[in-house]
Amino acid sequence: MRHKLIFFATIAVLLGHSLALAKVDLVILPKRDTVQLTIYNSADLTLVRESRALTLKKGLNRLQFSWANTLIDPTSLEMLPKMYGDRIDIQDLAFPPRVRNLGLWHVQSQISGNVPVEITYLTSGLSWRAFYMGTLSKDEKTMHLKGYVRVTNKSGEDYENAQVRMIVGKINLIDQIADLARRQYPYGRPGPPPVVPRVKLDRVAVRAEAKRELERAEKIMMAKPKEIRKEGLSEYFLYTIEGTETIPHGWSKRLPSFAVEQVPVVNLYKYEEERYGNQVLRFLSFKNDKTHNLGETPVPGGVLKVYRNVVEGAHLSYEGQSRFKYIPVNEDVELNLGTVANVIVKPTLMDYKTDRYLFGNKGNISGWDEIREFEIEIKNTRDLPIKVEIRRNFKTSSWEIKKFGNFGLYEKVDLDTVKFTLNLVAHETRKFRYVLTTHHERRAH
């Protein structure tokens, strides 16, 4: 069911001071001139800024604002005159007894006539998320990367011709806006505030709703793509969609956020028993920088679906998908596309011996070394060159290593981890060996 929102502002000229005065003397319904939505993705939160033209009378004016069936946080309501700021005094904002979702501003005005004001508040129920589609070239050296955002409105309010902005960033919130919006009293009651139970949606209904949304979103795919302006503010990034959007309650909208034709990518394969088990994972690696035709802005986290051009004529194969986190500018990106079978890494223990025993006073063993020789075999069965990263963990910090053969680039990662990085051409099989000596008990000290 669609909520119908009644948003109205009424101005009452206060004739007397008594509280017993009827609240509404004169009702004017000024139109919302413009509305701007700044939607956050790390929290259920949107900053709404709307401008309206009020007609004020000299003296004390009462302005009523109500928001039934929406998810507005009343404690965030603020009104500021955009003109005559020095001659208009907003005395207070009252939330009168026995009515819900209603605020009453007392405004002392030295002028009479039209005054543009700006009303801001935080609301819940609008959200956005980023998602991506990548298409690899046949040789897998470059990727055509397309970014999208999807804005969903479940706020209870229809926003028409709104300027839509999105914030990427992790803000600190101490109260959920939806909880504040559902409070019986805006600031609660002194003493323990009453708990209003949250209405939980049925899972099946949620799924059905998601499906409907998807269908709707498909319908409203844009005819003419819009530009998205991006800029950094504090620790966050602000994305502003060109022009205005109309997003009725219950609807979602998909908007393209960027498209880059050729992002050079590296096929990176990783092997690390302790993290991934005895299997090879495929990653697409690139950098969010100028040399990769990116680097203008951070990339908001989301899911990337990766396809590959297989033959001429735009046929595609689906390569996998990866959920990735926020990528700052100039940061390396490794997109995990899951396990593969066409690149094989096989470590084999070839030799094991112990040595250099130490004995204590009573003849018991007090220290020794263990020597293991491993052979690592890497097979690239693909018809493309690849990069392979192999990590080995030693479970002790007291060790030495000797390496033989073409083991590529060697690096100590931390006290018990080393990394070998190798580049293999198409259909290449490579083997290298290392001898690991670990020290135990008194030999370790």
């Binding site: 992790k170 926020y326 700052p328 500018v329 008194r442």
Partner: protein
């Protein structure tokens, strides 16, 4: 529509002239309702709200009984006080008694003459209080903040107050009407251009060391520091505890919401620390590169009794931002320890805590190396 009160509060003040000395079983209340005069709502103590009201009593010469009762309000009975403002030397409060099963008390007052006296009745009233909220607007450079503070009056006491004098900390006061069930929010502090300091903090005990191994970003907490001193335009009174919401100018005549925090009470001279959110453009990757036992001492059967360690920690700090940043890095070394080598200066906050102030230019990477020994580990 006529203003209607659903919950009644009834303050009745009755003056009973003691004409008979014999006790009566049913209390006879001779109710005179003197107008409530000046009323003060004192909100300077966040724990409890004190109401002070003035009334005029017409006393007879001799013994007077004054009956004070209430309904549907929550008054702390033991807090009720009566003080005589006029003729205090001629009017003596003799005793206070509490009638059974009633929200009431009776003052026995002796008066040397028949006259009108002004009295002040004070008591602690529940379910009426105030909150303080803050709204800050920082500039694009994040060096200055316009700080507004709002007073939120919440009255759920059962009593309507018309034109009461509301008293806050340190003598600030104003006239306000507030009905039962009503909440009123008013601006009470507005300071422009308050200097702020922005800080990033990495605490090695609280945050994960290797973000690469995590599915989500590790955010470095970002805070603003505001000093409650004269130099910043503040410093005239304590800053009460309350919720702080911070916004930022966006250069397009609009603002964005940066985050919110709850501040504790900040006395004059102290600083407020507001945690607004996390930075994901500063990435700290910390790894232990060495941990070995040295100088091991044994007892019988090769049992280790005491040893030292040789440890090395490397932390790489990358600033992906276009602006410089100041990172406070907190490291912890338990027990007895000596620093063998450290490539950055630190302050020893306590026996086990080290604090580094690390300046990070825009788009830069720095590396901290700590080589230390823990001594006499058992």
């Amino acid at each position: 529509m006529k203003w209607k009160r659903t919950i009644y509060s009834l303050f009745t003040l009755s003056v009973i002239f003691l004409l008979l000395a014999t006790p009566v079983y049913a209390r006879i209340k001779l109710v005179a309702l003197p107008e409530r005069g000046k009323t003060i709502i004192r909100l300077d103590n966040p724990q409890a709200t004190l109401i002070e009201e003035e009334r005029v009593l017409t006393l007879q010469k001799g013994l007077n009984k004054v009956d004070f009762s209430w309904k549907d309000v929550s008054i702390d009975v033991d807090s009720i006080r009566l003080s005589v403002l006029t003729h205090p030397d001629k009017v003596i409060l003799l005793n206070v008694s509490y009638p059974p099963n009633e929200a009431a008390l009776v003052w026995e007052i002796n008066s040397e003459d028949a006259f009108e006296v002004t009295v002040r009745i004070s008591y602690l009233l529940s379910f009426i209080d105030r909150l303080i909220t803050y709204k800050g607007l920082v500039d694009m450079e994040e060096t200055r903040m316009n700080l507004k503070s709002f007073l939120v009056l919440r009255n759920f006491s059962g009593e309507d107050f018309e034109s009461a004098s509301v008293l806050l900390d340190e003598g600030q006061s104003f006239e306000k009407s507030i009905s039962h069930g009503e909440t009123k929010q008013l601006l009470f502090l507005n300071k422009a251009e308050v200097p702020i300091e922005k800080r990033w903090t990495f605490d090695a005990r609280k945050l994960p060391w290797d973000p690469e191994k995590l599915e989500t970003n590790v955010g470095i907490p970002v805070t603003y520091r505001i000093k409650n001193v004269k130099e910043t335009g503040l410093g005239s009174s304590v800053l009460s505890e309350g919720k702080v919401r911070v916004f930022q100018e966006d250069g397009q005549k609009s603002t964005i919401f940066l985050g919110e925090d709850f501040t504790k009470l900040i006395p004059v001279g102290e600083k407020m620390e507001i945690y607004i959110g996390d930075s994901r453009d500063i990435v700290v990757t910390q790894r232990k590169m060495r941990e070995e036992r040295i100088n091991v001492r044994y007892k019988r059967k090769n049992r280790i009794v005491l040893y030292d360690t040789d440890e090395m920690i490397k932390a790489s700090i990358e600033n992906f931002k276009e602006k410089p940043a100041m990172l406070t890095m907190i490291q912890h070394i338990p027990g007895q320890w000596d620093m063998e080598e450290c490539n950055m200066d630190y302050k020893r906050v306590d026996a086990y805590t080290l604090e580094f102030e690390i300046a990070l230019p825009a788009h830069s990477k720095r590396e901290l190396t700590m080589h230390y020994h823990r001594r006499n580990v058992r």
